[in-house]
Symmetry: C2
Subunit: 345 residues, 2 copies
DNA sequence: CTGAAAGCGCTAACAA
DNA sequence: TTGTTAGCGCTTTCAG
């Protein structure tokens, strides 16, 4: 007689939360409810209809956590964005966010949910294994290798369903999708030199693998053509980057006549800075970017850049991951970059 | 003698997957392992050290799904992006993705994971209740009301831990964070008129609540100032939008001298189109955007726009959600917009 | 301080 | 076709 007659006001009395509640109301066993609601198994049509209608009536939603635990399948893909070489680089980086957007479209399309995790490797050595071993996800997509190449390699040895967006290196063990950055760098340098530049600078953070490859490609061409090229370090942190770039441009004033920017974002900032300082592009200084973000077509002059196909990249990441989820040991995929010639070089 | 002596080659013999495996090795009970690893409970220091070292040695990671199920807390925040009024609008929309990025930063900072879900309400009536009732998340942030205002209202009645990015309406029941779109619209129209425009057009999809409010604000000012304003519909789908805008600009040629673009993205496209057609901004035609995306400062002429503080917005969303997670029934938060005067008006 | 035991809510054999 | 039962791997009383 203690509290059985006290109707708690906060709870609706007939709230059906579990499959067992529902089973009681329907006068069947929990197993039958489970089968009826999951659709595939063999259940009498009449029983199923009844159960479905009761479920609808009471707004019943099965607890996915329990289901996932039991079935040992989550239907969730983890997406990790390691912020390694520059802790201040935010997840809000344009290229990565755009890729993430397309990835979300692709994975949703195929019925997967996405668990997004921003990771700062410096603060958490074990980030990848922890994510993989968490039991929360069926597979993982890593967006950007940052400075975590070795850690990713290690994880790949014992874990198949992982695909990485990034740079490809001869003989690497993890499955990567990305643009041929080295080739992209070559194309950029060629474009600048063809356009008449005779003293080049690369602007970007060469600690990041992909950027380093772009620089190396450009360097190869420069050396062959006997044109000097220097590297100017920038950081991706959006608040400091503009100042750094301005600083660099001041230092190289008059010496350099061709800039290869590691990303369109950097290129656009250069463009603006040069305009402010009254330096004409492309007559006095030529610029080539990388990525071909939507903004590239909108600047003045429009940015000549090396295109990465983000949409195709996202599709490939999803495709390969799904195949790996099925046990296939897929090859990496390196996509060819293309120069988009606009007005800046 | 059946299979106990058969060592399966696919499994490492000493793989420790469960807390029970670990307990056996350590010679303690599973309960003790759980306590030792979760840190908070009272366990003999020596026992704890031993368990921790065995765990490390075998690379043990506790299964989070099981833990979450048992504790009835997930540590996961759902982020839903409804794509209602325009199915073709991709999740890759710049403003939303930027907001998502900052949100990810905020929530990660506070120890939450993020479950991202792109939703097409037209295909799934029940999207919000399903997400909420899934047992997968502790709370939900909806980015953009799209055309789902009523559904969100309904869900809010029975579910506290939800915060929405969007427009605020007098007397609404769900907790929203957003910019005062109506005021923003007023400011934009005032700016255009002050700059000398005498015939305005609003460019954007007025089916979306937020955009409608921006338009209405602008209309209020126009009417008071006796300046005509017309609405030109666009869609957010990135591939079609440019053509639509070009079409509109052709139609209004010579009649309109001030454009209020619903977003910076639209404004930038206008700018480019006008430049291609040799129409001078701001002399012949003035333009004001909305959002103040990074790109706004980089165009030629730099875009005059109405600023929404995305970073602050993300912080607020996270703050309010956390307070709601603690049972507090928080108020909505409407942030004031600011005109950023640059060159286009 | 530690062990035993009872579930979190669901699914999948195995029986009936 | 349906009910029963035994867990998925973890946490948390309750005893000791």
């Amino acid at each position: 007689m203690a509290d059985s007659d006290v109707q708690p006001l906060t709870d609706k009395p007939d709230r059906v939360r579990t499959i067992t509640d529902l089973a009681k109301i329907a006068g069947v066993s929990p197993g039958t409810v489970s089968r009826a609601l999951s659709g595939n198994s063999l259940v009498n049509t009449k029983t199923r209809k009844k159960i479905e209608s009761i479920a609808r009536e009471h707004g019943f939603r099965p607890n996915q956590m329990a289901s996932k635990l039991r079935r040992q399948k989550t239907g969730v893909i983890g997406v990790a964005i390691p912020l390694g070489h520059d802790v201040r680089q935010q997840i809000s980086d344009t290229f990565f966010m755009t890729l993430l957007g397309h990835l979300a479209d692709e994975l949703t399309e195929r019925g997967f949910d996405i668990m997004l995790r921003r990771v700062i490797p410096a603060q958490d050595e074990d980030w990848l294994d922890r994510f993989i071993g968490s039991g929360l996800i069926d597979g993982v997509i890593v967006i950007g290798q940052s400075d975590q190449f070795e850690r990713i390699e290690d994880a790949a040895d014992g874990y198949l369903p992982m695909v990485v967006w990034g740079n490809h290196q001869e003989g690497q063990r993890h499955c990567v999708v990305g643009t041929d950055n080295r080739l992209g760098g070559k194309l950029a340098a060629e474009k600048l030199i063809t356009a008449g530049a005779r003293n080049l600078a690369f602007m970007g953070d060469t600690q990041a693998l992909e950027f380093a490859a772009r620089f190396n490609g450009a360097k190869e061409v420069s050396e062959k053509m006997d044109v000097p090229i220097r590297a100017l370090a920038t950081h991706l942190s959006p608040d400091r980057t503009a100042d750094e770039i301005a600083q660099h441009l001041r230092e190289i004033d008059g010496q350099v006549d061709g800039i290869f920017a590691a990303t369109d974002t950097i290129a656009v900032t250069c463009l603006k800075e040069l305009r402010d300082r009254g330096i004409a592009v492309p007559t006095q200084l030529k610029i080539v970017g990388f990525d071909d973000l939507p903004i590239a077509g909108q600047t003045v002059p429009p940015l000549t850049t090396v295109r990465q196909d983000i949409t195709a990249g996202a599709k490939c990441l999803a495709d390969l991951l799904l195949r790996r989820l099925n046990g296939e040991d897929t090859e990496s995929l390196v996509m060819p970059p293309h120069v988009i010639a606009r007005g800046s070089a």
